[in-house]
Structures are given as structure tokens and as C-alpha cells.
Amino acid sequence: MVTTNKNIDITEVRKLLGEVHDPEVPVLTILDLGIVRDIRVEGGLEIVITPTYSGCPAMDMIRQQIVTTLDQHGYGQVKVTTVLSPAWTTEWMSQEGKDKLKAYGIAPPNPLQQVCQIRPFHREEAVQCPHCGSYHTSLISEFGSTACKSLYKCMDCKEPFDYFKCH
């Protein structure tokens, strides 16, 4: 016997996925982050996700939350598949996600060009302070409180802040 879902309504599924938040940056949903790569319906409901960073400890929890959220709305049979290719990039983050980050006090990722170079002491051109809007900021550490962020300080308002690094 195969248990079947109620009729799959893609729009509803998408809306529900928009209620699943990143446990480490709770202001973002998994749709904002761009980690939901596909929603498949053939042969049962399947959600395809990709991790931001290989070691991101939030992935297991996200997987679980997807299943729980969908289950609560009648989609009891859900398969969550993880894919690695193509590799996640901050280019997939929604504009809405970037706006939310900024309002939350985290500088959103710069566009991909000109950054992510290998040369030592290379700096991203300008990371804008999410508090006062100044571009007069300085890197404290390339690694921050989570894998996806680095630590900056603003030379004008003197506040430290996280930067969701371009990746």
C-alpha cells in the first residue's frame, strides 16, 4: 500500500517552504537563501535542496523542518533530497532576502564580481555598514559566527557587524 498525499498544490508547497527559516540566520527563509533547488511531484512530493557550505550544521535541522512543516499541512509523504551541484552561491539569494538581512543588522552579500579572489590581503571593495550606511568599513576576520559570515567593523559609527560573505 502506498500512502498518498492529498493532491499536490505546488503553489501551496512553495508557500509552506517559505515558512521554513534558517535556524542560524532566522530572519531568512530557505527560499530567501536560494537553497531550494527544485520541487518535484512525479512519483511523490520531493524537495531538492543544496547546502550553503559543506559543513553547515543547519542542514539536518532544515531537512527536518521541511518534513514537519509539510506534514502539518497534509503532505505526509515527502522526500528531501540534497544535491551538491551546481554549488550554492550567494547570487541565488533573493533581493527580499538581502533586504531582510540588512534590516536585521547583517550586511548582505556583494555581487559576485571582483571578489572571492585567492590573493592574500585582498579585500572586497566596499562592504556597506548595515547600521549607518557608511562604506568606510574594515574587515576584522574573514570567519564569523557561522560559516557564511565574516566579521566587520564600521569606522564611522564604530559598530561591529556581520557580513554575509559573497560566495
Partner: protein, 276 residues
Amino acid sequence: MTHSTALIHYTLHLADDGLILGHRNSEWTGHGPILEQDIALSNIALDLIGQARNFYQYAAELINIGGLSGPSNISNPAMGPGLSDGPRSPVTEDQLAYLRDGWDFKNCLLVEQGNGDWAKTILRQFLFSAYQTTLYEKLAQSRDKTLAAIAAKSYKEGVYHLRWSSEWVIRLGDGTEESHTRMNNALDELWKFTGELHTAATYELETAAKAISPDLSTLQPLWKEKVKEVFDEAGITYPPSVWMQTGGKEGRHTEHLGYVLAEMQFLQRAYPGCEW
């Protein structure tokens, strides 16, 4: 060695490199010289262990579809004793990390060396990241789609590791007399393990012949170029050719690996199957 056995061994080799270096770096968590660098090294550890996990999952998948089937392989030391008991239940990523013994591990000798001081930890990371980024850049073109996907993803993370460790090598090498001396001492201790990075193990020759992995000898000049560039800026002399110690990729390790495994595997050995 069949094609798939070589692929399994190669995948385990990549996984073991990440896990052991990741574990070594994690030993610094809570002990870093300043908070930001403690966090940096812990983040690098997390990346490496995450990458290792992807490789272990793939290795387990390959083993479970029968890559190491047949009577001769039931006692194959590559599998470890914990994996060969009784009827074949599926192998898991955790078993590959926690239940294989020292001679089953195929990591390079470089990554298992003790942390020493900050200079040694930094230099170990730098020498390895310079190798790993050149490797992953090429491995991303692998004929094996899964390895290519893991490599492409890991490469992006490795770039951060390389840049961070390069900056530290320069900072210490070109710093005070004390930091310069420490960097040179670290070089003396670690250099003899760098030859292995570009010396192919038997399984690597096979995977390279199948266009699964790059030819390591083609990576060596690229590695040298990266290392030399940073050494020049750091005021460190690129060492002349010396005798190189190898063996780790084939399971012959220095005495340091056993201590890493003793700590890392203790819980699963003492309480098999234990979960959080």
C-alpha cells in the same frame, strides 16, 4: 584492484584528509590565540569535516552497491574489522569515520601531524590548502560526477582557507624575529611530509588513468608556484629538494594518527551506535 575498488579507496583518501585535518584544527577550538582566530580555525575545521562527510557518504554508497564484494574483501583491511562482522548490513558514513583502524586510514602524513604552536598549525594548513585548492580545481572536471560536485563545492571553501593561512604565513614569516624563527622551525618539521601530496598511491594511478582524478605530477608545479609566492613575501626560503617521507595514503602512518583516532573514535568504540 578493480576500477570501483580504486574509486572507493580514492574517495576514502579524500575523506580521511579532510576529517583528520578538520579534527586537528578543532583541537584549537577554545584555545586560539584570540577569539577571532579561534573562530576562524574552527570554521575551517567545520568546512573540512563537512567536505569529509560528503566523501564518506559517497564511499559508503559505493561500498553498499557492491564495490568491495566477494570473499577476499570481507576481511579487506580497508574496510576495518567493525565493518565485516556478520551479515552485510549497509555501511554508513559514521562507521567509515569511527570504526576503521589506523592502517585503514589513507590520509596524507602532513594532516595528522600535531598542532605544535600557532606557526606549525598555520603552516600545515597553508601547505595543505595550496595542495587542496589546486587538486579540487582539477577534480571538479572529474569524469566521476559525484566527486566533481563535491570538489567544485569544496574548492570555493578552500579558497578562504588558503587566503587566510597565506596571510598568516606572511604575517609570521615577515613579523618579529621570534615569529620568523617559529615559522622556520615549523617548516623544518613539516616540509618532509609535503612530497607525499604529489606522490600517487596505487589507487590514484588507477583513478588518474580513468580520468577520475587529476595526474598529481601536473599539480606539483602549480602548488610550488603558490607556495613560493607566499614564502617570498614572508621572507622564507623555499627549501631545496630533500628526502620525503611517504606512506600515509597507503595506511602507513606516523605515530601521531593513533592519538587522533583514540580521542575521535573513543565514544563510538566504547558505546557502539551511541547517538546525541
